[in-house]
């Protein structure tokens, strides 16, 4: 694709996902942390605390542990880097349109078409840099996608609209920064080509005689004569973020600190898009590759960290950990748009909460079935009359305003009638209910109001076997 592209290469992405037990990110904590690449037996990412201890990137494991005894070592994982990269792209998508991922740690951004939106290249780059302020990265721009990548790997770290600048800089780069394989580089060196300068001064025909098609294509892409195709990033409507823990957590309450870190990222994500989440799933990565799910629910839909923390703080009391937790993934998949609440400013007292927030808090502690409402069914059978509705289901239908035809109804209704055992006096004429003959639970009863010696008003009935039961109380 033609145009001015910038390549951004991140340096310590995996390190950025790590949060220690106090909820402090690896970049700011005082504990030395290193990411270790087992394939090459060298440290590949170090946090500032580790650098202060004298550790260097590229050191072996033995040398590192000799220098620093309390070093925390975490194995390099390209997947985690890619996830983190995706998270960065989600944020960048708000300020720049064409983004392509170069997993595990690189990004292509197209600049030239964004210049219509931004006054000049400096203000564009400043906006991007503000978003990337917490990361360490190298970057370079070029009118060729491959050249931008080579320059970024050579730590060119400059952005400009000029054609000549990047071409001159490219000539000064070493061949090892290119995407050529080691074999191709040695083959080039054998014919006396040891730098980009040598490579570009050779006539194309001379190289074509010695090297294969893909290599020639790569060279013309570097020069900006041919353009390669990139798949551009399309955002997904969901939020998934992982955070590794430095220590195993066995007490559920201690999960709140690292969770807060993830919730803050969620808040940024949601507020940028004017979205709210109703359900959050926290996947707890346990020791021995097990997983445990922890659900958080808000009836109102929240995007603020503080609101979610309050829900989590209550809900955590019911959470029992099956094994020590080593990592957290926060997932928010069903997102919906923020609906402005139409509260009356003058009615009643100003409160900080809404009813749905209060219900969410109660449900967090007692479970979703812990809070319910009642609805009247169109039935005369007392057992069928009251129907339980859970606020979370949102199946509340229009309220029935029709007042009941009967003068006295019991205020407390037993789920199952109990046999009447005490002596009691019937005070009213009967009320006969014959209904439900079409169903499995027919009802043929004569209801009376009775009073016993303690003064209790009972709602009693006599069934067709002449047995007496209590079905409710007039409290």
């Amino acid at each position: 694709m033609q145009g001015l592209w910038v390549y951004v290469r991140f340096k310590a992405l995996q390190l950025g996902t790590i949060v220690d037990s106090d909820g402090i990110a690896a970049q700011h904590t005082a504990n030395p942390i290193a990411i270790y690449d087992a394939l090459n037996n060298q440290l590949c990412q170090l946090n500032p605390a580790a650098l202060n201890q004298g550790l260097k990137i590229g050191m072996g494991l033995a040398a590192a542990s000799a220098l620093c005894a309390e070093l925390t070592i975490i194995e390099y994982d390209a997947d985690k880097e890619s996830q983190q990269l995706l998270a960065i792209v989600q944020q960048l998508y708000g300020v720049t349109a064409d983004i392509s991922l170069d997993k595990p740690d690189g990004l292509y951004l197209r600049i030239d078409n964004m210049l219509r939106l931004y006054a000049d290249i400096d203000s564009y780059w400043h906006t991007v840099q503000t978003l990337l302020s917490e990361f360490h990265y190298d970057y370079a721009s070029a009118y060729s996608i491959s050249a931008a990548k080579v320059l970024a790997r050579a730590r060119y770290n400059r952005i400009s609209l000029e054609q000549r600048n990047w071409q001159q800089a490219l000539r000064r780069c070493r061949l090892s920064h290119s995407a050529l394989t080691e074999k191709q580089v040695t083959a080039l060196q054998r014919v006396g080509i040891s730098s980009f300068d040598d490579l570009f001064t050779q006539p194309l025909s001379a190289i074509a005689a010695r090297f294969d098609g893909p290599m020639l294509r790569y060279l013309s892409e570097l020069k900006g004569e041919r353009f390669e195709q990139l798949t551009l990033y399309r955002p997904a409507q969901q939020f998934i973020r992982y955070s590794e823990l430095l220590y195993e957590i066995t007490l559920a309450e201690r999960l709140l600190k690292p969770l807060e870190h993830l919730l803050q990222m969620l808040e940024r994500y949601l507020i940028q898009r004017a979205l709210v989440a109703f359900d959050l799933t926290v996947e707890l990565h346990l020791r021995d590759k097990q997983q445990q799910q922890w659900q958080l629910h808000s009836a109102q839909g929240e995007n603020r960290t503080q609101a979610w923390l309050t829900i989590a703080g209550v809900s955590v009391e019911r959470l029992t950990l099956e094994a020590p937790v080593q990592g957290l993934t926060l997932k928010a998949q069903q997102l919906s748009h923020v609906v402005a609440a139409n509260d009356d400013l003058f009615a009643g007292k100003q409160t900080q909460m809404t009813t749905l927030q209060l219900i969410s808090r109660l449900q967090a502690k007692m479970g979703k079935q812990g809070v319910y409402q009642l609805q009247m069914a169109h039935d005369h059978r007392p057992e069928q009359l009251n129907q339980v509705v859970y606020p979370a289901d949102g199946q509340w239908s229009a309220s029935q305003k029709a007042p009941p035809v009967f003068s006295d109804r019991p205020s407390l209704l037993l789920k199952e009638p109990i046999p009447l055992t005490q002596a009691s006096k019937v005070l009213t004429p009967p009320e006969r209910i014959i209904a439900g003959w079409w169903s499995d639970s027919p009802c043929e009863r004569d209801y009376f109001i009775a009073q016993n010696d303690e003064g209790q008003y009972l709602w009693v009935f006599r069934d067709h076997h002449n047995q007496w039961y209590i079905h409710g109380y007039f409290a």
């Binding site: 209060l358 109660l362 007692m366 809070v371 319910y372 409402q373 009642l374 009251n386 109804r409 209790q456």
Partner: protein, 229 residues
């Protein structure tokens, strides 16, 4: 001297006339004339009201006019774990909007108290109904403070327990003898205890029966179920 008065005030054994004027203003009439008079106007608008009785003698019915008046400020009614399921039909009969009534189901006493306090403090509820017995002094104090903070009325129903004195707004003992309710006002803020108040208060259909009791009894003319068989 003033230290002694402060001490007594903290224990709520004395109160100031200036305070009483305010409390007297914030009352809701129960609709029962004798009781309203004894309570200097009715139930307090906020705070904890304890009713100690046997279950099912009309203790909730006595409070229904108050709940009905309180729901006018468009807040919610929360019902904490009633011992027996509340009948929605009864609520509708008393003109209570059931879409604003929420029930909390939990068997654990501590959880009920927690939920109750959350509701009271939130300021979102006009009334909360709670069934608990043997509330401790500190628990009652917490609920009272929370209720005042959230401008909420907590109706606390105690069944079959010896009522110990609690630092709350109002405490009553109820007992029933046929259609007569015996009310003992054990404690009320800004007022004197009243003992042995008798009030005629009963169910509508029974009241009609007592009114017509002078008539000779009609003979048993109820057709038995399945009489034709």
């Amino acid at each position: 001297m003033s230290a002694l008065i402060t001490h007594l005030k903290n224990k709520q054994l004395v109160w100031q006339a200036s305070q009483q004027a305010q409390t007297a203003a914030a009352k809701i009439a129960t609709g029962v004339a004798e009781l309203d008079q004894a309570l200097n106007g009715g139930f307090p608008k906020q705070g904890v009201v304890r009713i100690n009785s046997v279950m099912g003698i009309g203790e909730l019915k006595l409070c229904m006019p108050i709940i009905q008046q309180r729901q006018q400020d468009k807040r919610q009614l929360f019902v904490m774990a009633p011992p027996v399921q509340i009948n929605a039909e009864m609520l509708i009969a008393h003109d209570i909007a059931i879409e604003q009534v929420f029930f909390v189901a939990n068997d654990d006493k501590a959880n009920q108290l927690w939920a109750c306090e959350q509701c009271l403090k939130s300021g979102l509820c006009h009334t909360v109904l709670l069934w608990q017995s043997k509330l401790s002094l500190t628990q009652a104090k917490r609920l009272q403070v929370a209720a005042e903070q959230g401008d909420c009325l907590l109706l606390l129903f105690e069944y079959n327990s010896v009522a110990q004195p609690l630092p709350i707004s109002l405490s009553m003992n109820l007992s029933r003898e046929q259609d007569v309710l015996h009310i003992n006002i054990a404690k009320q803020r800004g007022g004197w205890p009243v003992s042995d108040l008798t009030v005629k208060h009963t169910l509508n259909s029974i009241r009609q029966r007592y009114q017509t009791v002078a008539q000779p009894h009609t003979k048993n003319n109820i057709v038995a179920l399945h009489a034709q068989r």
